[in-house]
């Protein structure tokens, strides 16, 4: 009874839809019984959070999933040290609401606050401060991991078995993260000092990145991926830091929600072009210094709930790569050229350089170099052909793709990008699996 069939079950990208069996426990102490029942009834299980992953790493139609979002309580918080211990299903949104007024912020946050602690750790998420702070895994002090044999492990960076390292970025495959103990970061204001600067080409981007990373905690750039020729790689560079003084106020709850799928034609090349032009114009208009609340700075897309529905019934692909520093400039230029010539626009082209702070995670995505993230509406074969061209560029440059965003990477490309995958596979729980792992695993 705890696993109920659902007809509609998708990830954020909504390309794959399949009926699933889903259990949604509400108490941490109930999870072992859920796993025990799942073990009896299904060939495999997969824990999931708020399903903000784009591809098939949160899908498991061949088995069942355990939706962790009902297990969402905080266990303890010490304001003297800033250490929070909480259930894995707690969202960043709830965490921020409770702790921002007391002067604490997430040490690392992705571009949406609707992610769970467990999901963030299992993808080892990064943010705009990767060059200084590394990934979320760098800030995990301990975590609880329930394996399908019923044993719960209390793991920290001192773990010598490798299970902690495998679980950070472990894509839910090493077991169920039941709780996480995280070091939060003190802040004295919820406002951000932000500076936005336009750049004309990729050289401009790299120069700004280099000049900004010492003095600014957060950096990111938006690139107009429809601009070709001499203007390839033009965009807007944003850098910011927490303001030293100001109010301590958590932001407002979510904004309007997109109630239904947009028809496919809404996102044709023309509307993307118009959006990009508008965005660029708006960026130039507001270029310069500003002070803004952390919410629009970190979470601009959260203002529109379910914006993924803009891409219509067929959904979208997100494509995020990282390429090493030596190859970064040429590979990024080559990708932007391939996109411009394919005429497949991307609403969002986000460019950032990763720093060299290592993550404890075995399968962690970030590594030194430049990362480019792109959204493409799913138009079938044409889109897949473009993504395959991008794959070739990334592989040639010695780069890799981010599993959280992926739904189609070829097995050999995954393995080339993650040489630790075999060591990782030895820590995979025998009962855990996902569509992603079926595709790329052993």
């Amino acid at each position: 009874m705890v696993f109920a069939p659902t007809s509609e079950w998708t990830s954020w990208g909504r390309v794959n839809r399949a009926p699933h069996h889903v259990a949604r426990p509400t108490w941490r102490q109930d999870i072992p019984a859920v796993v025990a029942e799942g073990r009896q009834r299904f060939p495999s299980l997969l824990p999931v959070g708020l399903r903000r992953s784009y591809g098939d790493s949160v899908l498991n139609p061949a088995g069942a999933v355990i939706d962790m979002t009902g297990v969402d309580r905080m266990i303890a918080f010490d304001p003297a040290t800033g250490v929070l211990r909480a259930d894995a299903g707690l969202s960043f949104d709830a965490l921020l609401r409770a702790l921002v007024p007391r002067g604490f912020f997430l040490p690392v946050t992705p571009g949406t606050r609707f992610v769970t602690l467990g999901g963030a750790v299992a993808n080892d998420v990064h943010g705009k401060n990767h060059h200084g702070a590394g990934t979320i895994g760098c800030w995990v002090r301990r975590l609880g991991l329930l394996r399908s044999d019923g044993r719960e492990h209390d793991l920290g960076p001192d773990d010598e078995t490798g299970l902690f390292a495998a679980t950070i970025g472990g894509l839910g495959l090493t077991g169920i993260i039941t709780w996480v103990e995280l070091s939060l970061m003190p802040i004295t204001s919820t406002m951000m000092d932000v500076e936005t600067i336009a750049f004309d080409d990729l050289d401009g981007f790299f120069a700004l990145a280099e000049a900004s990373e010492q003095a600014f905690d957060y950096t990111v750039a938006w690139v107009d991926c429809l601009a070709g020729g001499a203007r390839t790689g033009r965009g807007l560079f944003t850098r910011g830091r927490h303001a030293a003084a100001g109010p301590l106020e958590a932001g407002k709850a979510g904004g309007p929600t997109i109630p239904m799928d947009f028809p496919g034609f809404a996102l044709n090349g023309l509307s993307i072009r118009a959006f990009n032009a508008l965005y660029a114009w708006n960026g130039r208009r507001t270029a310069g210094n500003s002070i803004q609340h952390y919410q629009p700075f970190f979470y601009p897309l959260d203002a529109i709930g379910q914006w993924n529905r803009m891409y219509g019934q067929r959904g979208m692909f997100q494509y995020q790569s990282v390429v090493p520093p030596d190859a970064a400039r040429d590979a990024t230029a080559a990708m932007l050229r391939a996109i411009a010539s394919a005429g497949e626009g991307s609403f969002l082209a986000v460019l950032k350089t990763f720093g060299d702070r290592p993550s404890p995670g075995m399968l962690s995505f970030p590594s030194p170099g430049t990362t480019l993230a792109l959204d493409f509406p799913n138009r079938g074969d044409g889109t897949l052909a473009l993504l395959a061209r991008l794959d070739a560029i990334v592989r040639e440059a010695g780069g890799k793709l981010y599993p959280a965003k992926d739904g189609r990477i070829p097995r050999d490309m995954f393995r080339a990008g993650y040489p630790g995958w075999e060591r990782f596979a030895s820590h995979v729980d025998p009962l855990m699996s996902s569509m992603f792992w079926n595709r790329v695993g052993p």
Binding site: M1, V2, A4, R24, T26, W27, R28, Q29, R73, M74, I75, A76, F77, L84, A86, A94, R97, A98, L99, P101, R102, E249, A250, K252, A253, G254
Partner: protein, 256 residues
Amino acid sequence: MTEITPQPGPRLRVLILGGTSGIAEATARLYAAEGADILLVGRDRTKLDTIAADLGVRGAGRAEVAISDLAAPADAAAELSGFAATLGGVDHILVAYGILGDQAEAARDAAAAERIMTVNFNSAAAWCLAAANLLESQGRGSLVVLGSVAGDRGRRQNFVYGAAKAGLAALVEGIAHRFAATGPRAVLVKPGPTITAMTAGMTRKGLLWAKPEAVAAVVRRAADKGGPVVYAPWFWRFIMLIIRFLPASIFNRLDI
């Protein structure tokens, strides 16, 4: 959604009977964000402690628990004043416990039917009457009680549960009437189907299922303002209006 920020000045003291109910927990989180002092009453100490710890981190001034079998109060008045004393006085009382029961079983087995009525009506009525006296004696405060849209018209699916909730509705309306010219207030909140542990076994198809957070926002507001009967979410008021006025000749042919 509106943002509630901690109020300067004395903290609100909130007593919740049935602290582990999904709607109660979601409501308690809203109170915690305001910095209120909260006492959770129920039977399961582990779950109550888990919730209390969470409310503490979420900003509650105090979050404590008391263990009691609410369905079988020996002396509701005495116990209630004990809870109030633990809090150092009480501003809001929320009666949130209840069981859905199994209608088919209740039709066969008198003991099962009686259990549904005892938990959802008899015992709840005892707490409400005691709360009414307490609030009247202090001349202020709110009593908020969770009813159900199921109490608006008996349906074959769950009419024992519905009857108990209908009885509770009449009782709370009566208390609100009695309070009308004085300080305290009493409100019955009638949620529609809500996604909580209570309904975990049901197929939650259709658009009318509400999240506990949405119902909690109504419950929290009801303690401060609004009429003696409030639907949650609001649209149930109109749906139930129609359902109540359907002639039996039509209603009895519908599979609802």
